[in-house]
Amino acid sequence: MAFAVVAIALQRNLFAVVILSGIYSFLMATVLVALDAVDVGMTEASVGAGISTVLLLGALYLCGGEEAKPMRRPALPLALSVIIGATLVYGTLGLPVFSDPDAPIHQHVAKRYIEQGAKETGVPNIVTAVLASYRGYDTLGEAMVVFTAGAGVITLLRRRRRPRGEGK
């Protein structure tokens, strides 16, 4: 994955960048599967590596495949991103140890989901039970967000096309 990231940063050919980011998504999906988050891994593989690669290729078809050379050396942005990255890494030091059963996140409602979820909802897959039942409002909001994104794309792309058609 680190190799893919460095290659993306160095590459000037945008087609290679799109393919590399697809590879990155697939690697990320395998990491998620290794972490036992199969649902998220599936989403990453289908959305990150599948649909968004196709959409980026479609965008490349419209705007050409070479990245413009930067005007000057990006010293300030590099320093900024290194500082922010270092701060985030420093922040992770305060987190509980990985897979620590006493971590606060496992003490609140997660316990009930795991112990009672299958009995209360009759659904063996806890992820589905939490997503659709316990967190039904959140998922409704998520569906709304997806819907709004689609509606936004429709309004943006359609409005631009119409005047051109009328001008001809």
């Binding site: 649902d39 989403t43 599948g50 659904v123 039970a129 039904g136 709304m144 819907f147 689609g150 058609g165």
Partner: protein, 143 residues
Amino acid sequence: MRHYLVLRVVAKLLIPFMLVFALYVQFHGDYGPGGGFQAGVIAAAAVVLYAIIFGLPTARKAIPDWLVETMLAAGVLLYAGVGVAGILLGGNYLDYFVLGATPVDGQHRGIFWVEMGVGITVFGVMLKIFYMFAGRGREPDPE
């Protein structure tokens, strides 16, 4: 790309299985990994593959724009409708316990329809965005 024989044959072989897999992910999400979101994306990916191989106009003929746009809104309405059904049957909004004879039965039914709504919306949105992007730079539609 419809001149490439291998691609055409492989796509024709793959697309039915992709759609069946999407349905499996949709309806088996209670028991295995998956759910509405993943199923919608997989189904949309099958249609995108079809559009790439056989051309955008063919795909638009198979799954027309009005259908995609209807699905976009129908999924959200289905989801919200499940909530309203909960109110009408005497529970709270998005309360599934009242939907069936027993609470567990009601949960099953509620989760099924909610996942269905998510799947329909995601399928519609993904496909619509693809249609929109792929249709740019071509002749404008006779809408």
